[in-house]
């Protein structure tokens, strides 16, 4: 029953023999040991499991691992190359998280949003994150975070606005 699947996850080649019914999120968590991608609903609603597949944001609970055969997958662990990605920095700087459970999926969705040029205004960001649920923050700080992450990506970083520990707010 098991069939081979070969893909690249966070720039590393992976090769496994798996049951076709294994969801991509379970593959990443259980076979690759990448537990930063979370399961919140298994119905594609909450977005906690969002990863990038060939650069596109995908809810990894709605995709079988075998469907990702040959793909390039990026998870939250692979985002920053050892350092904080500007979007991760944005979430930290702007208090864009509380319990942190939705955060990896939220960050991956935001990265995709910025990459597609759809993070211009607060309204655009909110619209782009409609597929990601957060029960803690009330979203306002998340939108602040994505704005900062987007600005950093565009080279107009607002990071100088902050000290290392303290948020200075006008």
């Amino acid at each position: 029953m098991a069939i081979p699947v070969r893909l690249r996850v966070n720039n590393a080649s992976r090769e496994h023999s798996i049951e076709p019914r294994v969801l991509l999120v379970h593959y990443l968590r259980d076979l690759c040991g990448l537990t930063g991608t979370h399961v919140g609903c298994e119905t594609g609603i909450c977005g906690a499991c969002t990863v990038l597949v060939d650069g596109k944001a995908v809810k990894s609970c709605t995709m079988f691992a075998v469907q990702a055969d040959g793909a390039e997958v990026t998870t939250i662990e692979g985002l920053g190359n050892g350092q904080l990605h500007p979007m991760q920095q944005g979430f930290w700087d702007r208090h864009g998280l509380q319990c942190g459970y939705c955060t990896p999926g939220m960050i991956m969705a935001a990265v995709h949003l910025v990459a597609t040029g759809a993070a211009g205004s607060r309204e655009q960001i909110a619209h782009g994150l409609r597929g990601n649920l957060c029960r803690c923050t009330g979203y306002s700080h998340i939108i602040d975070a994505v704005q900062q992450g987007a600005a950093a990506a565009a080279g107009t970083a607002a990071a100088a606005h902050h000290s290392a520990q303290e948020v200075v707010r006008g």
Binding site: W92, H95, Q98, C99, L133, Y139
Partner: protein, 781 residues
């Protein structure tokens, strides 16, 4: 020479928790990978009420990879009874076993458990379990459940009534109603809600056969209460049981409970001698993790023609669901405690009937009883204002105690610690630009648009609480250790799960000890590390837990002064301590900092006689009262006549939680709390159909607010310290959820007032609002 440094307290510090969380390196319960782990999956009832005639597990047990399949008959004797800690006189409660016996009482009731080598196989096994159900009539409507002819949720109790409570407070209620010019009656339904933290529950249990110990990792708010209560279920001694709440993905009260699965996994791990993991699916979370609210209230207000309120009668029918979980029957009584809100209402009469129905249990969901009270009193203030023709701000001001009347005794029997309700209201009106809002409303109405403004002035009961008022201790424990390296380890008995106390407690410790915040680490959530605690709920973490840290630090400083005096060759009353340095001006110019002092304390070659080595202290802090945070929320909405959609145009919140340790975290708590209220006011409702079938079993059917549903907030605060703890803090975890719901509801009803619509129950969904608009428009044409 250390100069006075900028204190950390009061600054918007970024959270020390966040790097691991944004990198995906945090460890939630489901992230644990213990070798040899078996996976448990639970079969749940599809019926609201049924007799279980037969369960056949043979085919499931025969499936390769399946280790065991158990029913109630196999495990219930070993797993005891799921506890209820609420102290309610004459409570009739059914025996709550971990798996169903010969009946199931709600959709989602656990019937059997399959354990397998991987979760996919365990799920396959569930499909092979055959259960022969004989469906019975379901009790769904709590008011109909009171009728003699109603079917019974638990036939062996002989009634659907769990308890009744009738209390009167303040002056004579009958006299108040006799003196009234009029009595205003109102009925409100506080709909059932599902807390829905994004991380569902999860449990991992590990039995060490050699030591005879059991470790349970659980996505819980209450590791310490679990350690207190699980021994009574599964028989393990408390001191052989370790509970760990690792990273916990939100709680909101849903994880303030002792759940059957925690005992069951502990039992399975012991019985099968292997680590056992159970991870809740979202569907299970919606069906079998506690719900909140679900109270039907009938209210009578005795008023004078000038709007003066003389008395308030409340009769609440509370839908408890089928079982008493940890605090189920206590929640409706909390509503009664704060029924009068921030108003002087001289006489109250409160009746509560707790009713069993064939649904999941209700229990503490964010606010727990106080959102119900605040919603009802704030709606009633608007109704009284409208009916007596008194301005709604004036009627609130008229009934506020003045700031110098605190501590203020209420007719509900509480003593509010401190407050300045006028100050918060004035500030909110100023931030909202009230006159401008009124002008906007007038213009909108003149143009035929439905624009409304709502006000809510709230007070809540927080920092739970004094032990005298709590079922099992309301104190909090904390320990602080100045390490030999002068690093500081803070250990707290509260169990933060998103609130950020690894940061705010570090701010407190760094300031008080005069050390850099980078040198402080805050530990929590593991009963082998935080030996004792009463955990996180009821906005108690900082007020009660933070205070225990303060007491411990003060003990360390006192001891360190004795040692410093010895080293400075003086007496401790001549030693001054500030910014991490001990001095004795006038005696010597020598100064001793923590590194030298801590080294001396642990190396212990030159201690004064009788002084123990080391620099560690622990404390139990017992608050003298609850705290009573308060504030004013103002909301402006516009309702679309054609669609019934409510748009929030402006949202102003002024909250007073006392001094803010970290304004950034306060802001996050307030914004997140308001989002829960936006959900309650506009979208969310847990729905069971007439057969007790759960219709809101997924995120597809249960409408959590999304990013596009949130307005831009204008937040402000006032600062009124509490006298009941050394930090003066009041707590802020529930403020948004308590204050905001009535502000939004009042705004929508203000918008609809020109149409003659005076009441709609929540949630104010487009369909409900559209129907009301059309009904009233048709009626008035």
């Amino acid at each position: 020479m250390a100069d006075a440094k900028t204190p950390y307290i009061g600054r918007a510090m970024k959270r020390v928790e966040d790097p691991r969380l944004v990198k995906g390196l945090a460890t939630y319960t489901d992230d644990l990978r213990l070798p040899g782990t078996l996976h448990a999956v639970i079969l749940r009832s599809p019926h609201a009420h049924a007799r279980v005639r037969r369960i056949d597990t043979a085919a499931a047990r025969a499936l390769p990879g399946v280790v065991a399949v158990f029913t109630g008959a196999d495990v219930n004797d070993a797993c005891g009874v799921v506890p209820c800690a609420a102290e309610i006189p004459n409570l009739k409660a059914p025996k709550h076993t971990v798996l169903a016996g010969d009946r199931v009482y709600f959709v989602g009731h656990a019937v059997a458990v399959a354990v397998a080598t991987n979760p996919y196989i365990a799920r396959d096994a569930l499909d092979l379990i055959e259960v022969d159900y004989d469906p019975l009539p379901a009790v769904v409507d709590p008011e109909k459940a009171l009728a003699d002819a109603s079917p019974l949720t638990h036939p062996d109790l002989g009634t659907n009534i769990a308890y009744t409570q009738s209390v009167a407070g303040g002056s004579d209620i009958d006299d108040a109603f006799r003196r009234a010019d009029r009595v205003i009656k109102h009925r409100l339904y506080h709909q059932r809600l599902t807390p829905m933290p994004i991380e569902p529950r999860a449990v991992v249990a590990l039995h060490n056969a050699g030591e005879g110990t059991l470790t349970i990792w659980s996505s819980t708010q209450i590791p310490h209460l679990l350690r207190t209560l699980l021994p009574g279920m599964i028989g393990i001694p408390e001191n052989k049981l370790r509970i760990v709440a690792p990273e916990v993905g939100g709680g909101f009260g849903a994880k303030l409970n002792v759940y059957a699965e925690e005992a069951l996994c502990g039992h399975l791990a012991t019985r099968l001698n292997a680590p056992v993991k159970w991870v809740e699916s979202r569907r299970e979370n919606a069906a079998a993790t506690i719900h909140g609210r679900d109270q039907i209230g009938e209210y009578e207000v005795a008023v004078k023609n000038d709007g003066t309120i003389l008395g308030l009668k409340s009769r609440t029918v509370a839908d408890l669901g089928s079982y008493c979980q940890l605090l189920t029957p206590a929640i409706p009584t909390l509503t009664g405690l704060v029924l009068t809100g921030c108003y002087r209402i001289p006489a109250v009469k409160i009746d509560v009937v707790g009713v069993y129905t064939n649904k999941m249990s209700t229990d503490a969901y964010r606010g727990a009883g106080r959102p119900e009270a605040t919603y009802l009193i704030e709606r009633l203030m608007d109704v009284v204002a409208r009916e007596t023709g008194v301005d709604r701000t004036e009627i609130r001001l008229k009934h506020f105690p003045s700031p110098n009347e605190f501590p203020f005794p209420t007719s509900c029997g509480l003593t509010y610690d401190s407050g300045n309700y006028q100050g918060a209201l004035a500030k909110a009106r100023q931030l909202a630009n009230w006159d401008q809002l009124m002008k906007q409303r007038a213009e909108a109405r003149a143009a035929g648009r439905l624009f409304g403004v709502g006000v809510s002035t709230y007070v809540e009961i927080c920092a739970m609480g004094p032990s005298s008022a709590m079922p099992a201790g309301g104190w909090e424990w904390g320990a602080v250790r100045m390490e030999i390296s002068a690093k500081v380890t803070v250990i707290t008995g509260v169990s933060p799960h998103g609130q950020g106390q690894e940061t705010s407690f570090a701010q407190i410790a760094a300031d008080r000890l005069g050390v850099p915040i980078e040198d402080v680490v805050v530990l929590h959530g593991d009963t082998n590390v935080a030996h004792y605690g009463r955990d996180t709920y009821g906005s108690r973490g900082t007020a009660v837990g933070g205070s225990a840290i303060v007491l411990s630090i003060d003990k360390i400083i006192a001891k360190a002064k004795t040692l410093a005096a010895h080293m400075l060759e003086t007496t401790s009353d001549h030693v001054e301590f500030s910014n991490g340095v001990f001095r004795s001006p006038g005696v010597t110019n020598r100064e001793i900092g923590w590194p030298e002092l801590a080294g001396a304390a642990y190396i212990a070659k030159n201690l004064p006689a009788g002084l123990e080595p080391g620099l560690e202290a622990s404390s139990f802090f017992e608050p003298s009262n609850f705290t009573f945070p308060f504030g004013t929320h103002i909301c402006a909405v516009e309702v679309d006549r054609d669609t019934g959609i409510v748009s929030i145009k402006k949202y102003v919140a002024v909250d007073d939680c006392g001094p803010q340790i970290n304004p950034l975290l306060v802001e996050g708590q307030v914004q997140g709390g308001i989002a829960h209220s936006i959900g309650q006011a506009l979208f969310e409702q847990t729905v069971y159909d007439e057969n007790g079938q759960l219709l809101t079993g997924e995120f597809m059917d249960y409408a959590l607010p999304r990013a596009t549903d949130i307005p831009e907030y204008v937040l402000g605060h006032t600062v009124t310290p509490s006298p009941v703890n050394p930090l003066g803090v009041k707590g802020v975890g529930e403020a948004g959820t308590i204050g905001a719901t009535p502000a939004i509801a009042n705004a929508v009803l203000d918008a609809l007032e020109p149409l003659g619509i005076t009441h709609l129950d929540l949630p104010l969904t487009p369909e409900k609002v559209w129907t009301a608009i059309n009904t009233h428009t048709a009626a008035t044409v």
